[in-house]
Symmetry: none
Subunit: 209 residues, 4 copies
């Protein structure tokens, strides 16, 4: 028990040191030597706790990332169900405040991890994680529109625009996290931005065939 606790503590030191180093230098330029030194550990010790450099990075960013994915998946599922119940998209304007707040809260609860993911994950399996969110967002949108499009003959979705708007949507969160550390401010701003983007979804993505 005692040694378990100790190990846990040492592992934690390593993770904290790694966060610091990765945030400062990015994945590529971060030095394991330097991380171990910061954590008052030898280089060899690191390899007891983690498989390699990427595994250490993974440890920091993986869980918060998966959780965010789960939050989104759940939301998209709800949206899907919602869409089957309504008959017209303009009828009940979708309120994004709820999901927007949830995302903001989660990101800001794992501030360092997401900053790392967004700015320092080059040469990592996570380097394209933003793209994944963009894809998820776009798919969700398209799925939501499909029902409505049935009632709009002669119209289709411009995939470039839907992709760009998904990109902008995700990017708004990234921009926020990079420019403001205060979660309250972030919430308000992102609600406004999400509302503005709704216009985009309607005016830019739905085009005549």
């Amino acid at each position: 028990m005692n040694s378990d606790t100790e190990n846990y503590a040492r592992r934690g030191q390593l993770i904290e040191a790694a966060k610091e180093e990765f945030l400062e230098k990015g994945y590529n330029k971060a030095s394991l030597r330097s991380i171990c030194a910061k954590a008052n550990m030898t280089t060899g010790a690191l390899y007891f706790f983690f498989k390699n450099k990427e595994d250490l990075f993974d440890e920091i960013v993986s869980k918060p990332l998966e959780e965010l994915k789960a939050i989104l998946a759940e939301h998209f599922e709800e949206d899907k169900e919602f869409m089957t119940k309504i008959t017209d998209i303009s009828e009940g304007d979708i309120d994004h405040s709820d999901i927007s707040d949830k995302i903001v809260d989660h990101i800001y609860s794992n501030y360092d991890s997401f900053l790392l993911l967004l700015s320092g994950s080059e040469n990592t399996v996570f380097e394209n994680c933003v793209d994944e969110f963009v894809d998820l967002t776009e798919k969700s949108f398209i799925q939501m529109m499909d029902e409505s499009l049935k009632r709009m003959p002669g119209c289709e979705i411009d995939r470039y625009m839907s992709h760009w708007l998904a990109h902008i949507t995700v990017d708004a969160f990234i921009h926020e996290i990079k420019h403001d550390k205060n979660v309250e401010t972030a919430r308000v701003r992102l609600r406004n931005i999400m509302n503005y983007l709704v216009h985009g979804w309607v005016t830019l993505t739905i085009v005549k065939k």
Copy 2:
């Protein structure tokens, strides 16, 4: 003449090889040895043509970048003059098609250079070049609004939103270049997007004090 052509060719080979390597791996991870090998040259030869790694990168991206800056500077100057002549912003809606096309054309004429600048310039003097364009764009916008704001007492500009919109504006071009190699398509799309963004400038950035 013959040897001039040859020299020019070898230098060109080097630049082409460098483009390839830099695009593939980014500035940091690109290896001069690898570049020289691709260009069928020894490492020493590179240093006859270029001062160092950064100079080689510079050779690829610097000129197109400076030209783009010049195009923007000229445009912003025209905008400034234009604003002094009109009395109301809504009166003559600004047409962005012209500048948008110019930018697109220039970027697509130097496709690789801009791709490099945007994706692989970390640890280079160019690593913040996007920020520079965002700043330029925002300044230009604020300058354009200043006159109108005088006739809108009780209103001011939300600097976060103006910054974000400038960011989105610049990002739209970046997104385009990364997703589509066809200049014609790019022109059309960006005109549409620019028009959509005008709404943003008005609805998001002008707020009550």
Copy 3:
């Protein structure tokens, strides 16, 4: 214990190899590759024990040098106190045998280090260490003469000559170390030389204004 001894031994091998290489080629031309090869080590291993090339050099010469400085500082302090007690410089001729012996003993106890310092420290922080000793020596002399000069109106010190004599004094030790490995012989010779130099201090450095 065993591994401690081994580690110590490997570090020692490196230092010995470095001494050899530095003595043979000087700091600049010495090759770390060559040093590591001599010590049956890879180049990377060196960087476990030492920060860089200069740190390795430092390890060899720094301690003996600092110790010599301390010996001199102590001696000069004693001289200073001594001078305040006597009334005439010719009255009690200063005996340099003691300090001369101390210096010789210290240098010969760290023979290689001083040889290195004197002949192979170009491009090192130590490259001007001889000048430092010359300055120290000259300052000490001038300080010693100041009291006597008060009783010799119309006289002053010729700074060029005092500097040259300080230079010769220091140089005598250097010359000795470079030409004779036997400490006993060195002691006797340097006593004689120091005595001869005393004449110089009196006849060359004190001049009429």
Copy 4:
């Protein structure tokens, strides 16, 4: 004729540029590229005028050095003849002013060359040229004393001391050239120093068997 003159001029430019570079960086660290650039020449051109790096260095220092050797050789020859004519060394005190002045004048007429020889000739065939002068000086002294020693039974020369004094003698010139650019001052100082050194020759080098 014309092209000969041109070549001569280009060669001269190269030598001047080389002097500058060698003086600044020493032989080892001097870069032929840099020298050629200073002389507005291509690297290849240098190899038309000079065999290699050392040959270029040679060109700068060799002639003045040989001339100095000739001056000394002549002087030592005169001394030798002089010694055979006198019966006692104390009888006619040797006046060193003449030779000292000659040496000083020659050195100061080729200031840069000698500075180079003394400070920047490491890794050159000239790196030990000082030793040669010391040897010459010592030999000359011993030769001068031999006659006198015949009349001083039981006495011999202490070779260490004679060597050291020769070293000091030569070093006095070196010290002077490094510390003073004015030839007049140099002349006066070196006469004084030479006189002081005569004492050394007598008191330190002649010892009882």
